[in-house]
Symmetry: C2
Subunit: 669 residues, 2 copies
C-alpha cells in the first residue's frame, strides 16, 4: 500500500526557495554523476535477495554474521554484473565507494560487510607495497574474489605504536622461507575485519628478523585457511574477537602463529627486500609505506563523515516537521517541533557541517591524488602536509560526526533510541571511526608535531606550506575592527589557531629552558597541543567552506542558502569556543551578541529551506533505513509496522510466561 505524503512535509517542500535538484547535482559533481549514482542505487537496492526478512537486530550474533556472508556473496557477484553491463559511465571507484561507505552498502548490510577490509586494505596494500611480480600473482585473484584477504597489523597489546608490534617473522635461508611466531599473549593479532571466519589470506605486519638482526616491521602475505576445507592452516590459531558496540557483521578476528612457514616471495618487496641468502636491502624511503594508512583516513573523511552526518540531519529534520508537540501559543494548536528554536539549534548545524566536511574532504582527496602521483616520481615534498591534514581532519571530523549523530538522535526524543530510527546503528558506525585507523588524540598530536615545526619555520623565515601560511601573518589581522562578515570571521579563526599554536610553541620552549627534558615538556603541553591542532583544523574547514562559496557558480537562490549555512557553522563554532576568540582574535566582548544574533538569524533563515536542503542530499529511504526519516513522512505508521516485525510480537503470549512468570506469580498468592 502506497501511503500519501504527510501534509506537513508536503507544505515544507512547497516553501523551499531553491531548486533541490541543482544542489543534488552540485553535491554529486554534475548532472551525469547524479544520474549514474541513482542508476547504481536502483540496480543494487532492487534485488529482493538482499532485503531483510527480519531486521538484523533481532537475530543472534551468529545468525547476523551468516546473513552478512550470504549477502556479501550476492553483493559482490552483482558488482561484476554491474561492471559488465553498465553503460552509465560510473567507474569502479564509485561502485566500491557506494558499497563500502555509508551509502548502498549500509542499506544492505547495516553493520558492516566482512569483505570490506579485503577491498579497502588487502588489495591496496599489495598494490602499494608489492613488486610488479607480486601484484601479478595476487591482485588478480584478489580482485576477482578467488581469495579473500584482510590486513593484520593491530595486536592485542599494540595499536597506535606500530613499532611495538610483537609478531615475529624470521627468515630461514636454508629453506628460503619466513617463519612466523606469536611470542606473547599481547602479540595476538586483534581487530582485523573479516579475519575471524571469512578470510583465507592476510597481509600480516611483523618484525622482520634475518641474519640474526631485527629490521623492524614489514608486510607478509600469509595463507590462513585451506581453500577446500576452510580449516585453519597448521600452526594458525584463529577466531573472532567477540561482540562489539556495532559492526557486528564485520567478523573482526584474532590470529596467532606457531612456527608458520611462508615462502620468501610472500614478503611484499616493493620497498625493502630480503634476498635469498638473507641479506636485507633497505627501502629507499620509509615514508613510501604511509600510503595505505593515509588513504584510509582520507576515505573516512570523504565517504563516511559527511554521509553519516547528513543522514542524521535528514532523519531529524523530516521527523521534526511531522512531529507536533506542546504549545507555543495557547489555543494555536501544537506546532511542528522544528519551529522550536532549540530544535533548530540541534539539527541545522548538522546540515551545515555535513557540507563543511564535504568541501574539506574534496580538498584532501585532490591533494592525496596529487601527492600520490608525486610520490611515484620520488617527490616527497608535500607528503608531511598531506599527512598532517589527513590526521587532524580525520580526528576532528569523526568526533564532530559522532556528536552530530547523537544530537540529532536526541532531537528525536525517545523515538530516536529505537533501532528502527537507525540512529543506534549509525552512532555505532560513526563512533567506530573515532578510534580505528588512528586513535583521534594520537592523530591530533601527530599534526601538532607538524605545526610546531611549521611555527619554528615561520620564526626562522623559512617557506611555509599552503595550510600553515597564516602563521606568518595572523597577528596583523588582530588590528582590524570587528565586522560580522565571512572574511572577518574566517580571519578570526586563523588568529585563534595561530595564537594557540604559538602559545604551545612558547610553552614547550619555556619548560625546556626551565630544565625539563624535551619529551617531558612535550607531554606536559599535550592538552594544549591537541586543542591548538583542533583550532587549526577548524580554521582550515572554515576557510575551505568560504573559498568554495567564493569560487562556485550556482543560482543566486542556492548561493544564498549555502552562504547562510557557512555562516551558521562559523557562528556555532565561535560560540562553542568563545573564550578563544575573546582572548586571541579581534572580537571584543561587546561583539559577542552579534555572533549570538548571527546564529539565531541563520536558524531562522534556514528554517523554510530545511526540508529542501535535506531532500537535496538525495538519500533513498533504503539507505536512510529510518522509520522517522522516510521521504513520505508517514512516521507513526512506520513505527507500528516496524514494531510488528519483532519476533516477540509473532505470538500473543511468550513462552516465558508458562515457564517462569506464571509459576512465580502463583507462588506469591
Amino acid at each position: 500500500m502506497k501511503l500519501k505524503v504527510n501534509e506537513d512535509l508536503h507544505k515544507e517542500r512547497l516553501k523551499c526557495t531553491f531548486n533541490t535538484e541543482e544542489l543534488t547535482n552540485f553535491l554529486d559533481g554534475g548532472v551525469n554523476k547524479t544520474l549514474s549514482r541513482r542508476k547504481l542505487e536502483s540496480f543494487f537496492l532492487s534485488d529482493l535477495n538482499l532485503k531483510d526478512k527480519i531486521p538484523m537486530e533481532y537475530l543472534s550474533h551468529k545468525e547476523r554474521y551468516e546473513e552478512a556472508v550470504r549477502k556479501s556473496c550476492i553483493l559482490f557477484k552483482k558488482v561484476n554484473e554491474w561492471q559488465q553491463s553498465n553503460d552509465s559511465g560510473s567507474n569502479s571507484m564509485e561502485v566500491y565507494k557506494s558499497l563500502l561507505g555509508g551509502s548502498v552498502g549500509s542499506a544492505i548490510i547495516k553493520d558492516g560487510s566482512p569483505f570490506a577490509v579485503h577491498y579497502v586494505m588487502f588489495i591496496p596494500t599489495i598494490m602499494g607495497q608489492g613488486t610488479l611480480e607480486q601484484q601479478g600473482e595476487w591482485v588478480g585473484r584478489a580482485f576477482s574474489n578467488q581469495i579473500i584477504g584482510t590486513y593484520a597489523q593491530t595486536e592485542l597489546g599494540h595499536g597506535t605504536f606500530i613499532r611495538g608490534l610483537e609478531t615475529i617473522c624470521t627468515y630461514d635461508s636454508a629453506t628460503e622461507e619466513f617463519v612466523l611466531n606469536s611470542p606473547t599473549l599481547t602479540s595476538y593479532k586483534w581487530w582485523p575485519g573479516g579475519l575471524g571466519h571469512t578470510c583465507n589470506y592476510a597481509v600480516v605486519i611483523a618484525q622482520l628478523y634475518t641474519q640474526g638482526k631485527c629490521y623492524g616491521i614489514h608486510p607478509f602475505i600469509v595463507q590462513l585457511r585451506d581453500e577446500e576445507t576452510w580449516n585453519p592452516m597448521p600452526g594458525i590459531k584463529i577466531g573472532e574477537i567477540g561482540g562489539k558496540f556495532g559492526m557486528n557483521s564485520t567478523n573482526n578476528g584474532y590470529l596467532a602463529f606457531d612456527n608458520v612457514r611462508i615462502p620468501r616471495m610472500n614478503m611484499l618487496m616493493k620497498n625493502a627486500q630480503v634476498l635469498k641468502d638473507g641479506t636485507y636491502k633497505k627501502s629507499v624511503n620509509d615514508k613510501l609505506t604511509y600510503g595505505t594508512m593515509i588513504f584510509v583516513r582520507v576515505v573516512i573523511v570523504r565517504d563516511l563523515v559527511s554521509s553519516y552526518i547528513s543522514k542524521a540531519a535528514i532523519i531529524a529534520t523530516r521527523y521534526s516537521c511531522v512531529r507536533r508537540q506542546s504549545e507555543l501559543k495557547p489555543g494555536a494548536g501544537e506546532p511542528q517541533i522544528l519551529d522550536y528554536q532549540t530544535q533548530q539549534y540541534k539539527i541545522f548545524p548538522a546540515i551545515a557541517i555535513s557540507l563543511a566536511y564535504k568541501f574539506a574532504a574534496s580538498w584532501l582527496w585532490d591533494v592525496y591524488n596529487d601527492v600520490t602521483s608525486q610520490l611515484e616520481q620520488g617527490d616527497l615534498e608535500r607528503l608531511p602536509e598531506l599527512h598532517a591534514m589527513a590526521c587532524c581532519l580525520k580526528a576532528v571530523s569523526t568526533a564532530d560526526a559522532a556528536v552530530a549523530v547523537t544530537t540529532c538522535r536526541l532531537a528525536c526524543g525517545g523515538h530516536g533510541y529505537m533501532n528502527c530510527s537507525n540512529f543506534p546503528n549509525m552512532y555505532a558506525m560513526t563512533s567506530a571511526t573515532e578510534t580505528y585507523e588512528g586513535e583521534n588524540t594520537v592523530l591530533l598530536l601527530q599534526t601538532a608535531r607538524y605545526l610546531m615545526k611549521a611555527c619554528q619555520d615561520a620564526k626562522s623565515g623559512l617557506k611555509l606550506t599552503e595550510t600553515v601560511l597564516y602563521l606568518n601573518n595572523f597577528k596583523s589581522l588582530r588590528r582590524r575592527n570587528w565586522i560580522t562578515d565571512l572574511d572577518c570571521i574566517g580571519n578570526a579563526f586563523l588568529q585563534v589557531a595561530g595564537s594557540k599554536i604559538e602559545n604551545c610553541y612558547f610553552a614547550i620552549n619555556q619548560l625546556i629552558i626551565s630544565g625539563m627534558s624535551q619529551e617531558d615538556a612535550w607531554n606536559e603541553t599535550t592538552i594544549q597541543l591537541s586543542k591548538a591542532t583542533e583550532a587549526h583544523c577548524r580554521a582550515f574547514v572554515i576557510q575551505s567552506f568560504i573559498t568554495t562559496i567564493k569560487t562556485i557558480h550556482l543560482s543566486s537562490e542556492l548561493m544564498k542558502v549555502l552562504t547562510e549555512l557557512c555562516k551558521l557553522v562559523c557562528a556555532h563554532w565561535m560560540l562553542n569556543q568563545m573564550g578563544d576568540f575573546l582572548q586571541y582574535s579581534n572580537l571584543k566582548p561587546s561583539d559577542v551578541p552579534s555572533i549570538q544574533s548571527l546564529l539565531e538569524d541563520c536558524l531562522k533563515q534556514i528554517r523554510p529551506n530545511a526540508v529542501g536542503l535535506v531532500d537535496s542530499f538525495d538519500v533513498r529511504d533504503e539507505i536512510l533505513g529510518s522509520a522517522l526519516g522516510v521521504y513520505d513522512g508517514n512516521v507513526y505508521e512506520r513505527l507500528i509496522e516496524d514494531a510488528n516485525k519483532s519476533p516477540l510480537n509473532q505470538e500473543p503470549v511468550n513462552e516465558s510466561f508458562h515457564k517462569y512468570l506464571k509459576p512465580y506469580l502463583k507462588s506469591n498468592l
Copy 2:
C-alpha cells in the same frame, strides 16, 4: 584459576596516599552501610542461577527477553528471602536501589529488568494517588508480586506534552464503569517498560470524560492480561515496540484500547474523584500529582548518574595503568598510558564529577524527602524549587554522564568498543536517561521558567529561595580581584549564572517591548535560556561540592584528595565555558593561564591516587562487568577468554562457508 594481580596495578595501589576504606565508608554513608551493602551484593551475586552461560549480547532479541524474565523471577524471589533472613539493617529501599539502579541489578540483567517499572512507577503511583481503600486493594498484591504492573502514560504521538495525550476514558453512569478507547494511531500507548509481554496490569493515564465534559488527564488501573492464560483482555491490543539502542530486556510495549470497560473504583481517587452519578470532584491541588515524576528524576540523579560515571572511570583508570604504549622518552620503554597528560584529562574529570553529582544528588534527595512530608501537610511552598532543581540536575547530569562514559570509552581505544568492556551497554543505559522521564531540553526550559520568575522576584525585592539567592548579590562579586582559590571560583560560577539569567530576562523583555508576543519572545530566547539554566545548575553543583568539603570531617590525607578533585571540576568546567567567565565574571584574560595551570596541576596531583580513588568506589567485578576494568588487571587474559565465549568460536569453520562462501569463491575461478 586465580590470576595474580597485575604488577603495574599492584604498584599503583602501594602509591596511594590515603586510606581507600575511609573514602568507601564516607561514600556509603558510614561503616555499617558499607558492610551491609557488601553483604547484600554477596547474597545476590553468588547465586549461580543468575549467571550467564552465554553473554547476553550473543543471544537473539527473543532469547534475551526470555532470559530476563527467568532471572527477574529468581531475583525478586530472593528479595523476599533476603528481607526475611537479613539482620544486617539494610532497609527495603537499599535493596530496590541496588537491584533497580546501576548496581547489583545491572550485573545480573545488564540491559534492564522488565519488572523495573512495576517497582519504580506502578507501586509508587498507587501509593501516591490511590485512596487508602485503593492502596489496600492493590499495593499488597503488587508488592508481593501476585500481579505485575506498569505505568502507561507516554503515547506514540505525545511524550513531553502530557496535556495532549489522546487516550480517552469515558464514565458510563449506567454501569458505573469507565470505558477506555484509543481514538487514533498516535494515541497508542508507547514505551512503558514491561508492557509488551510481562505485565498484566497498568496505571493508564487518559483524558477523563464524564457528564459530557473533559476534565483532563487522570490515572486508571487497567487489567491487561488474563491471569491464567496471559492472553490480552478483550478490546486490548498489545505488543512490544521493538529493538532499541539498549535496554532490550525491558520489554517496552505498546497498548491500544477498543471499548475496554473497568469499574469506577479503578480510577485512582486520592486527588480527584468521579462519583457514582458521574459528578466530578476536583482535586484540592493539581500539583500533588507531580510526586512520582519528581521522584523518578531524583532517583535518576542519585542512583544512575554517579554510578555509571564512576564505573566508566574505574574501567578506564585501571586499564590505563595496565596498558603500555608508545614512548615518552627514547629507550625508556613503553609508559603506562595513564602517564600521558591527555589520557589523564579524559579520565580524571570523570572521577571528579561522579563525586560532584553524588553530593548534589544527596542535597536533592534530602530536599525531596522534606518537601514530600511538607506536601502531606498541605504545604506546597518549596515544591517549585524542588521541581526546578530536579529538572535541571536531571538534564545536566545525564548529559554529562553520557559524555563521561563516552570519553572514558574512547580513552580505552578500540578495546572500549568491545561489548566485553561493558562500555557499549553502559552508554546505551546512560544515554537513555537523557530522553526518558522528561526530555532534557524541555526540562532545562522548565527550570528556566522558574529562574525567570526568580529574576523578576529579585528585581521586585521579593524573598528568594535558597538556590537562587545569589540573584540578589552576584554583581557585587565582580568587583573583587581574581585569586585562584575555591571561594573565588565558586563565586565566578555564580556571576556567570546570574549574568546569563539576567541577560535572558532582559532579552525577553526587550523583544516584548519591541512588539513581539510573550510566547514568541520566549521561543526566540530558548537557546540562551537553556544555556543560562545549565550555568545555574553547574554553579549549584560547584557550590554543593565546595560546601561538602567545608563541612565534612575526614582525615587530612583524604581531604587533600577530595579538594584536588573539587578544583579539577572547577577548572575543567571553567575552561569549557571560558567565554562566559571572561564576559561575566571577575576573571580577566590575564588570569586564564592560571586556570589552565590549575587543571594541569590537579591532573598531576591526582595521578598517584587515581587507582586508589577508583578502588574506593568499591564496585565488584561482576557489577563492573568489564574485561578492561577487572580488579586484578589481567586485562588481556580476560579479552581472549571473553572472545572465546562467542558462539562463532565454538566451531573452526562456520557453516556459511559451505553454504555461501565456497560456492562463491569457486565460481570466480
